[in-house]
Assembly symmetry: C2
Homo-oligomer: 368 residues x 2
């Protein structure tokens, strides 16, 4: 998407045709800096230190990191080292493993001297596939937004609430929940986005607000507490959120607080849609609340807030008394009954097993 009028992706091949550039997301939203990745080690650092984040972008970065490794050592042993080091950067990231397996499968039977070139092409294909997936989500979501626009007066603004950052910075381009937003905006439909700040890590305030602002999409930052009031007063026409994991029955595990917004949408007849690549559907589980373990993260994310001081330094400030006990759940599960629909790259499915099965017959036929 655009950064002040210049189109960017979150990862791309440098002008030298060899190395790889990424946006340093640890510096956002207060500085926009590019980091150049030349080696396997550079790629490992970028993933581990969260220079890149978001499952699809982590996968793409790992793929390019694998390629960078093979440029220096394309032996079987070099390949295995690259796989192991990249995998160890964030072992719980499903896309990371998927991308590495795909890279490894693609090149392992080739002669070592052919491997780097093939890896370069394959990493590009992985990135392109992500862009294509998100464009698919965007196109189906756009139809939904157009249908809402048709019920309004011509030129009347459509207010969309989103939570966390399921934006282009988490993917290679377009994002998931933001893809319909960017497409509608680019198509000239008047859009305004309510951006939940998304405590504790504030990805809404820092990343989604940054993305939308630089692409030129009208938006307002609100605290996570505000969504219910907005919906009660007719100020939200549509909720669009992402998903980290979706059950075959349509339950959605997403950033903590998503469930509360779904409840408010339900209570006020606001459509609540989840945007997801079909790769996030876990066909092996059905009851999200019972079957998805919720990660607990460090309490300092809650008791401290990181931001920019008045003299431009990045600092953490404590908002609670020293030693306050903290519990920090990272995700919650929104039951399918609260979800109006699941927007995937293959179309919009109802949030239930039958509808998802029709949309993805190949996967759903697997034994549960």
């Amino acid at each position: 998407m655009n950064v002040d009028g210049v189109p960017y992706r979150s990862i791309w091949v440098n002008g030298d045709g060899i190395s790889v550039d990424v946006i340093d997301q640890t510096r956002l939203p207060h500085a926009f800096e590019i980091m150049n990745l030349k080696t396997l080690d550079d790629a490992c650092v970028a993933i581990r230190d969260m220079v890149v984040r978001g499952a699809p972008l982590i996968g793409a970065t790992a793929a390019f990191g694998f390629y960078l490794a093979l440029r220096h050592d394309a032996s079987d042993r070099g390949m295995q080292t690259a796989y192991d080091l990249l995998y160890a950067t964030r072992p719980t990231a499903v896309n990371l493993r998927w991308a590495l397996d795909r890279m490894h499968q693609t090149v392992r039977r080739l002669e070592p001297e052919e491997r780097a070139a093939r890896a370069y092409a394959e990493a590009g294909a992985i990135a392109a596939l992500d862009v294509e997936t998100n464009q698919g989500i965007g196109r189906f979501g756009l139809v939904l937004i157009e249908s809402i626009a048709m019920k309004k007066k011509p030129g009347e603004t459509i207010n969309i609430l989103t939570h966390c950052n399921a934006g282009w910075l988490a993917t290679v381009d377009w994002g998931t929940a933001t893809a319909p937003i960017y497409m509608a905006h680019d198509a000239g439909i008047p859009i305004h986005v309510w951006v939940d700040e998304t405590r504790p890590r504030n990805q809404g305030a820092s990343l989604t607000a940054w993305e939308l602002g630089h692409h030129g999409v009208p938006h307002s930052l609100v605290v996570d507490n505000a969504g219910g009031h907005l919906m009660q007063h007719g100020l939200v026409d549509l909720c669009l959120v992402g998903s980290d994991r979706t059950t075959r029955s349509g339950d959605v595990c997403n950033k903590i607080g998503t469930y509360l917004k779904a409840l408010a949408a339900n209570d006020n007849d606001v459509p609540f849609y989840v945007c997801l690549p079909s790769t996030t559907i876990d066909w092996t589980i059905s009851d999200g609340r019972a079957e998805i373990p919720i990660e607990q993260r460090d309490g300092s994310e809650v008791s401290q807030v990181i931001g920019k001081t008045s003299d431009g330094q990045i600092a953490a400030v404590a908002i609670a008394p020293d030693g306050t006990p903290v519990v920090n759940y990272a995700f919650d599960v929104t039951p399918a009954r609260l979800i109006s629909g699941l927007i995937t790259e293959s179309g919009i499915a109802d949030a239930n097993e039958r509808s998802l099965g029709h949309a993805f017959p190949k996967f759903s036929a697997r034994p549960g």
Copy 2:
């Protein structure tokens, strides 16, 4: 309540028997400091600069400020000046006006030389009345907590979720939503409190966590987003919140985000009770959503977070890109249908006009 074992109120007469002490709440939770108020001007500054906050405490401080003024000038003109200056500190605070009117009524027919002594007694009576009211709320809430305890195994912890600071720091003592918590804790019932941080001003993280910690009540700080997940997983037995304004039909206007917690409580069969002095009931209105205008506050409360830096300084940090548009609603309305009951100093009423009318026949008989 206790601060590290020493009993405190939020306002009290100094050992000199003349001046008045308050806890400087602008310094909490990072420092515990007492401010001595000797003059009308001191009291005005304390209210205006939010050294004291919370409707009941503002009322009590204004009452004592009126008394301090009369010590220096008890003439009709001095009295009027005191009234006007104190009223102007926070003109939207209902309790402020109520306390000033009561003080004025009490002393205005007396000879000037009798006024200061009478004002001293009356300010003390206003403070005592607030303590008594909260103790009433606490006693009725305690019965509720005891009834929950009886359904659990002996010794099993009762988890209570609260939002914002309806604590003793907002009142003269006990607090409203916290009164049942302190009474249950002091009675030896094992309590654990989930403290919502309460963005944007973080009164939960800063004040409620401080209160509970210093009184010794087990608690955990969570982000506002977490409550739904906690309730889905059986980790909340009871929600207790305060109210800024209550309609005669039982709708509750309270800190932004209260409505989202009520929705989650409703969805998971968790009892959701509101603790309120009957003075917050506005008998003239019935539909909270339609009739209560919601204050919008400065956007910097959202885009910046204030806390303690690693070197002990109090600083604000920006969490969003410079210039990000912000919308900042301070309150929301929880419809009566989501409320299990209203805990008042006169008993627990159902959240509807009939039940409130029975509890307070004198007021409810007023023409709507």
